[in-house]
């Protein structure tokens, strides 16, 4: 179990790219027959969730989140071929995109990274995403949540449009929605009937779990 703790610490410390410590540790854990689920949940995801908490409290900063995510990725890459044979399911599937007319992606990418770090399967819809595209990707991937980002007050209505399109589709009762971005507020989320709103990437994880009833 010490090895799992080391993996967790390795993710928290992050990987500057000079060494691939977390990947090595994961390999070592596999050799010692530590179950894949334990490595993933108590090592990699646990480490990332510590980073998420610290980020929320402003104790760590964006670059530190990025290097932690990179460390985690090096570990999950080792596990990936084994995950198919195990019975580990992702927490849920989220389709994430920046809405139509908006080309900003830094915030959206950070949210995606945090969601992946928490154990979600995340589909990147990209930028300038039309409502139909969100819906198409959600259907294709059997998504539980559609996440929308907007950085401009003029593109925010794209969130409203997408939510209306979802409500008018067969996904209406199947998919939850969550929105975020610099000008977006809880008030606006209520106004347009979004399932949830998150002010930052770490809260986005909590909110998504809440929407899906995951403790």
């Amino acid at each position: 179990m010490e090895l799992v703790e080391e993996i967790k610490e390795g993710v928290i410390k992050g990987d500057l790219g000079v060494e691939t410590k977390v990947a090595d540790l994961v390999n070592k854990a596999l050799e010692e027959k530590v179950p894949v689920a334990t490595i993933l949940r108590e090592g990699l995801i646990a480490g990332m969730s510590v980073i998420g908490e610290r980020f929320k409290k402003n104790e760590v900063y964006v670059p530190e989140v990025l290097i932690a995510a990179r460390a985690m990725k090096s570990g999950t890459a080792v596990l990936k071929p084994l995950l198919a044979d195990s019975d580990i399911e992702p927490l849920g599937t989220v389709v994430m995109g920046t809405v139509k007319g908006d080309l900003h992606d830094i915030g959206k990418n950070l949210v995606m990274m945090m969601l992946e770090g928490a154990g979600f399967n995340v589909i990147d819809a990209g930028i300038d995403v039309a409502p139909e595209k969100f819906i198409e990707l959600a259907k294709e991937n059997n998504a539980d949540v559609i996440g929308m980002s907007a950085l401009l007050t003029t593109t925010m209505p794209g969130m409203h449009g997408t939510i209306e399109a979802i409500n008018g589709s067969e996904l209406a009762d199947k998919v939850k929605t969550i929105i975020g971005g610099a000008p977006v507020t809880q008030n606006y989320a209520d106004e347009i009937g979004a399932g949830g709103f998150a002010p930052d990437a770490a809260s986005a994880v909590d909110k998504t779990k809440e929407l899906l009833g995951i403790a």
Partner: protein
């Protein structure tokens, strides 16, 4: 350097409420203070008011211009709000902003021509925000050429190479600096403007990074900045950098600023 004071923006703390309650004295004081501290232009932005922006923006323009004698930078991506604000503005405004995104270009250009305004031209097009210096320059070059062919005077164009946070990608700082250098070298009459503070998003003690970055940008040829003029450390860094960059003949402005107690 042309200083555009950034503080009248409803995404800043307390401002949304002040505009909502029409708290004139509070807003006038913010305007006065910025001009006192050296702003040449004041920016007005009430984007968080959403559809009420169309009424609030012209109201802000009038309020600010009856308080201080400076022209304004009208900051909105909403053409109808920009038009309402421009129609009551006195002097030569700056429109913030146009870009090479097709829709935005077509909607904002008529306003630039009608009001003979300056215009901040964001170096992005339908493909998104360019990342490298070469891509930034390419978009800047095309956008500038298009504006000039649409008969916008070169001196009215403020190319903005678009600053993004160095926290998530460490190459973007130098990409902006190199793009500024290339634009300044190729088009000496075209202005270059930046929203400096984006560079430090997500990092601690942002002012320290903003200050270092604006010095680097001035060295490369930045001549317009949307900044907080009440940040005395930033303002003295700008004055010092301009003297060092040969933009201050006989260092007169630096010496004057010292005598005025602004260099400490």
């Amino acid at each position: 350097m042309l200083i555009i004071g950034e503080r009248i923006n409803t995404s800043r703390k307390g401002l949304h409420e002040a505009v909502e309650k029409k708290d004139e004295e509070f807003l006038k004081e913010i305007a006065r203070k910025q001009v006192e501290n050296g702003a040449d232009y004041l920016e007005v932005n009430c984007g968080t008011r959403l559809e009420r922006e169309v009424d609030d923006l012209p109201w802000l323009v009038k309020l600010v211009q009856e308080t201080v004698d400076v022209p304004l930078s009208i900051d909105t991506p909403r053409p109808e709000a920009a038009e309402a604000a421009l129609s009551v503005h006195k002097g030569r405004p700056i429109i913030n902003s146009i870009s090479a995104e097709s829709q935005r270009y077509e909607k904002v250009l008529p306003l630039v021509k009608k009001y003979k305004s300056g215009v901040i031209a964001l170096c992005m097009d339908d493909r998104g925000i360019p990342e490298t210096a070469e891509q930034k320059f390419e978009v800047a070059n095309n956008l500038r050429a298009r504006l000039i062919s649409d008969s916008v005077p070169e001196e009215d164009i403020y190319l903005d190479p678009l600053v993004q946070t160095v926290g998530s990608n460490q190459v973007v700082g130098m990409a902006v600096v190199e793009a500024i250098r290339e634009i300044a070298r190729s088009f000496p009459k075209t202005h270059i403007s930046c929203g400096i503070s984006n560079i430090s998003h997500g990092l601690p003690k942002r002012k320290v990074l903003n200050r270092a970055f604006i010095v680097m940008c001035i060295a490369a040829g930045l001549d317009t900045g949307i900044v907080d003029p009440n940040d005395a450390d930033l303002m003295q860094s700008i004055i010092a950098a301009e003297a060092l960059a040969g933009k201050d003949d006989f260092c007169v402005r630096y010496i004057e600023a010292y005598r005025a107690g602004k260099i400490v």
